[in-house]
């Protein structure tokens, strides 16, 4: 597959700009809030602040700087929070039509599971775990930062999202990548983070298969953002050219920031 250039809108200077330059460009940031491909603010002051922070990240920080990777002996304990089993109807994000399907799939070690990649791609299709494991694997020991305030270090093994998207053929109109899990927590990221070399679809954790409580059979790891952006229990990936707020259960309408890099 030919190496694909970033769409023009995402091709940002890689050099680190000084803070001074940053403040000078602040006027431009404010104007940028009107641009169409940004998350909606619904006229909410807090969401406008989120967009300002998101724009500042795009303008001031290098596009694909790598997060720190740790040594094996630094792997730490890690709580499993949020949904820990999509088949458990007592959990807040339980989705009635998908819970039983997850339960069945889990019963046969996810042999019948496959990931659907669709939307603005030339070759939409499904990938089984075996298909994903045929791609070159990437293993990274990184820090998970939860918005609650805690953090942990774990080893994640998987395939870069970039490689899967390139194999499906990203169209030039693609702007966002949305993740649909077996629970009620769909979410999405922009192309900058989707093509980041450390954004992976992880099937392994700490040298074993990904445990159910941490998102089996497949979760995304978005290492440049808070933990909640790393959607667990993936079943579908949709490449989109327009922002999707995921409706009433999405982050934005439940009062959370869509961009969580800080």
């Amino acid at each position: 597959m030919k190496k694909r250039e970033l769409p023009t809108a995402y091709r940002l200077p890689i050099t680190r700009r000084s803070l001074i330059t940053g403040f000078v460009s602040m006027g431009g940031l404010m104007l940028g809030g009107c641009s169409k491909e940004l998350p909606p603010t619904y006229g909410n002051l807090l969401r406008m602040g989120d967009v300002l922070t998101y724009q500042a990240r795009r303008l001031l920080l290098p596009t694909h700087a790598l997060v720190k990777e740790y040594d094996r002996h630094e792997i730490s304990s890690m709580p499993a929070t949020g949904t820990t089993n999509p088949a458990d109807s007592a959990q807040p994000a339980f989705k009635a039509e998908l819970g039983p399907i997850y339960e069945r799939s889990r019963g046969n070690q996810f042999a019948d599971w496959s990931l659907s990649v669709e939307g603005r791609v030339d070759r939409p299709g499904r990938y089984t775990l075996a298909d994903l494991k045929r791609f070159p694997a990437r293993t990274q020991i990184t820090k998970h930062s939860c918005e609650e305030g805690w953090s942990s270090i774990a080893e994640w093994t998987g395939v870069t999202l970039r490689r899967v998207l390139e194999s499906a053929g990203i169209q030039s109109s693609a702007r966002f990548v949305n993740f649909y899990p077996y629970d009620e927590n769909p979410d999405g990221i922009d192309m900058i983070d989707a093509l980041h070399p450390q954004t992976i679809l992880a099937y392994g954790m700490n040298g074993r298969d990904l445990p159910v409580s941490h998102g089996a059979p497949l979760r995304v790891r978005v290492e440049t953002q808070m933990g909640y952006k790393s959607v667990k229990f993936l079943r579908r990936i949709v490449v989109a050219n327009e922002f999707d707020d995921m409706g009433p259960t999405g982050l934005l309408q439940t009062g959370w920031s869509w961009y969580a890099g800080i």
Partner: protein
């Protein structure tokens, strides 16, 4: 004030402080603050080890519905932080360029002599009136310079050290503060320092003539 309030609400979601890169409910804390129902909640399934052998890191599932208002609190915190950083940087730059810093704020060598500092403290205890505005006494100089040029920059930097995307671009921040959890603990300690300054500052403003001081801070000094 907005930053202090939203920061406190954020802390309530996880009222445990650590040192180093990591810290969570399954690792020991430096201190656990009794400020929300999340304090020692014990809502965890039994731990499962990641590796075989003793001392392995573990995982456990949370079964407790924690207090968490971080949706609005985090967004409000960052919005307010923009105002702090922009006005703070503007103040610092103008204070340096206009000479306000060199003329009025910079403690001179003579100001730092223990006898001068002690003297200025003694006069305060005697409620000797401090005229509003400059010239500042030696204690005022030290405190104002420390708050504006040390505590505020440090609180911003420790805040940024908790961000995965900022530390990816500037990994030196992690080295500087010894990890994101250390930075979080320092961020909280600096909040306590700033809060104490704010309270002390307000009390002294009121004690030394509230109306006159307020007029001096806003429209100017009537001497």
């Amino acid at each position: 004030m907005t930053l202090m309030l939203s920061g406190f609400v954020i802390l309530m979601a996880h009222p445990r402080l650590y040192w180093g890169a990591v810290g969570n409910d399954l690792t020991p804390a430096l201190v656990e603050l009794p400020i929300s129902r999340n304090y020692f909640h014990h809502g965890w399934t039994p731990s499962v080890a990641f590796f075989s052998g003793p001392g392995s890191p573990v995982t456990a599932e949370r079964t407790y519905d924690i207090f968490n208002q971080n949706g609005w609190a985090r967004s409000l915190h960052f919005l307010a932080a923009w105002f702090l950083v922009l006005t703070g940087a503007f103040y610092a730059v103008t204070a340096l360029l206009s000479g306000h810093f060199w003329r009025d704020l910079r403690p001179r060598a003579v100001d730092l002599m223990p006898r001068r500092l002690w003297g200025s403290l003694r006069r305060h205890r005697g409620r000797d009136e401090q005229m509003p505005g400059p010239p500042y006494n030696p204690l005022q100089k030290c405190v104002y310079v420390a708050v504006v040029f040390l505590v505020l920059p440090l609180i911003v930097l420790t805040g940024m050290t908790m961000s995965p995307v900022i530390t990816a671009a500037y990994p030196g921040l992690l080295e500087l503060f010894g990890g994101s959890q250390s930075a979080r603990t320092l961020h909280f300690a600096l909040f306590v320092v700033l809060g104490s300054f704010l309270i002390g500052h307000l009390v002294l403003t009121i004690v030394s003539g509230f109306k006159r001081q307020l007029r001096a801070m806003t429209v100017g000094v009537a001497r």
